[in-house]
């Protein structure tokens, strides 16, 4: 695991340590090779390689695993958290606190002593048809309400963004992909400073809202091509059709994902190029030529 790949999970670990009252300054990290650790300042992070707590060692502190392999043969007087990678708690090993697994592979011997084992179960929206339909309806309600409001109350705004999508697709795609990527990187690095973490979260949320805005406009564009007179209703129908198409695209491996991504960046670019619909996007007119 190199620094760029480790950064997101290290941010999570730093946050967890800060929230848990731990001392970030005392944190040690292993990235590669085989390492035995028999003492701990406060927190140890396993990001790569293999780290072993020998059978005769007792660590006083917490262990986080974000990559590589951690093998516990001795005792950990604290918590062990697995975010990614492999963790094995072997025969005779002891973990006095909580062994929390979020992701990765954990093997806990029946002869090991663990204070409390907790496994994080992420919500899986696709686990049942009812949940999927529920999520789809929720997305439709939010986008539909927003799209209906825009089409009925501020038609020129949604029209401006729509025109940027249909008339300047490539320009919207370029600006959308560039802005989305650079802002994403910027927010991740802002989060890493910890001081700017709230701003980074707000920024990421705003970026997500811009994607939704773009989706609503795509729905509006589809709606305007439907034989429905009222703009608001047509937009609602268009958004339903658009979301359905997005769902169907998701079923196509690779190409479906690329198409979804393409739609998202075009939408983001169109929203940004039109200053959220406040101004129609007109490219520069270059004089000369034929």
């Amino acid at each position: 695991m190199n620094p760029t790949e480790a950064i997101p999970l290290l941010i999570v670990v730093l946050l967890m340590i800060s929230i848990g009252g731990g001392d970030v300054q005392e944190m040690s990290v292993t990235f590669q090779g085989d390492n035995d650790i028999d003492s701990l300042a406060d927190v140890h992070v396993v990001a790569g390689g293999t780290t072993t707590v020998p059978a005769d060692a007792t660590l006083e502190g917490d262990v986080y695993v974000i990559g590589g392999t951690a093998a516990i043969d001795g005792a950990v007087d604290g918590d062990v958290t697995l975010l990614n990678g492999n963790l094995s708690v072997n025969d005779g090993a002891t973990v006095t606190g909580t062994l929390q697994t979020y992701s990765g592979a954990a093997v806990i011997s029946s002869d090991a002593s663990v204070g409390h084992v907790s496994q994080f179960e992420p919500p899986t929206p696709s686990s049942s048809p009812a949940q999927r339909i529920g999520a789809f309806l929720l997305q439709f309600l939010v986008l539909g309400a927003f799209g209906w409001w825009l089409a009925e109350r501020h038609p020129s705004i949604i029209e401006n963004v729509g025109a940027a999508i249909t008339e300047h697709t490539l320009v919207s795609a370029v600006i959308g992909s560039l802005a989305a990527t650079t802002l994403l990187v910027l927010f991740v690095y802002m989060a890493f400073t910890l001081i700017l973490l709230p701003l980074a979260i707000v920024g990421l949320f705003a970026e997500f809202l811009i994607v939704l805005y773009g989706q609503a406009v795509f729905g509006y564009l589809i709606g305007m091509r439907l034989p429905i007179e009222a703009d608001g209703v047509a937009t609602l129908a268009g958004i339903a059709a658009f979301l359905l198409v997005l769902e169907l695209l998701g079923l196509v491996p690779y190409l479906g994902g690329i198409a979804q991504l393409g739609v998202a960046v075009v939408g983001v670019g169109a929203v940004l190029n039109t200053y959220f619909g406040l101004q129609r996007f007109e490219p520069i007119t270059i004089p000369g030529g034929t």
Binding site: M1, N2, P3, T4, E5, A6, I7, L10, V29, T30, F31, Q32, G33, G48, H168, L170, V171, V174, I175, S177, L178, T182, V185, L186, Y189, F192, P283, I284, I286, P287, G288, G289, T290
Partner: protein
Amino acid sequence: MGIVRNIRQRRWTTVAGYVLFVALMVAGYYYNITFVQLGLIDLGTRLVGMTETTVSMWMAALALVTLVVAVVTGVTMDRRGWSTDLRTKFRLLFGVVCVQFALTLVAPMIRTVPEFGAWIVLASIGLGVGFPVSFSLAIDLVPVPDRGYVAAAITAIAYFLANAVPLSWSIDVFSQLMVAAMAPGLLVLAVLSFVSYDRLDDLLDDLGAQHGIYGTGRFCHGASVRTRSLTFAVPVVLMFGVFFIDSLGFLRIIDTPSLLLSSWQSPELSTRLFIAVAHVVGAVMAGVIYANFSLSRIFLWTFALFALTHVMYTSDLRLAAVFPTITGNGASPLNPALYAIAVSFYTTLNFALWPDLSTPETIGTHSAIGIGVAGWLATFSSTALALYFQAVDLTLLSHLNVVQALSLLLLFGLAVGLYARRMIELARENGGARA
């Protein structure tokens, strides 16, 4: 896009102009970024036995001589009317390629410092004559609205080839490849320069007359851009800044094996291909932005991308400094990919900008000063600064930190400058504050 319309209307002469310009510029730029920028280091250090510092000093000298020769050539072209004579430009270019062909052929045989020095001087003359001449072809061959896309195509093809084709950075390999590639190019240029028969003459006459339509650049309509005006000086300064930070950062990156072997010289084809594709994506983006937005927008994006790239590089290094075990693990290909996008941005801008700041009467001078000052003088200065950093044993992190600071400063300076310009415009429009 004009080229699509030209193809639909079967205007093959104009289409041939696009193809010719892209081919010539790709060949010239590929030669520059491989043979000149990378091959010379190998020639100087491995075959002649000089230290890397000495070779860098020679390369700085090459940059300086090239600048002087270019300005003399550019001014002469405009004064003597060569800028508007297509045949003359092809003949000059043929002469330049002949010199470069001979220099490329003999380069692997050089073993002594005087030979190396003579080679540098002759190469500078070739480059100095070559780039104002080749850039001035834009006024004959490329319609103004398409210059952004044409510049993007040149950048994308040159960088894709330079990164995707696995070549060792050695003078022998570069020399063999270049000689093989230049031979047919030389033949084509000889035909264009000296052969005369009806169809070719008609083609060249048609192309040569196009500067009447395409000659006045995008930023020269309304009022011509004078060489001693702010309209010309500001882009020169900004491009100088971009070239400078790129060169200063890249000089150190290619001197750091862990960074180099995980990116541009990676043994993994997939990594190099990833960087090559990033170059293409960056060039296309820059082309689209250049053709659809104001000039300030593309400068802002370029500086923002450079700032972000160096923030990522320095953040990784800071992280590695805190956790030293990380240093042996190599770097992520994301950083060089972002770097590649930033480089493609300004390279595309560089190909389109100077012809667009010129008219047929000023193309030679403007492209010579533009590329000479922004490109070659920046390279000279950054090399000198990099050598100083090397002499004072500046660490990799400190070196890239300076580059990061400069890129952030340029980004901030440009944003403030644009804002201030708008304020001045408003003040002039309103004659003071509006109630």
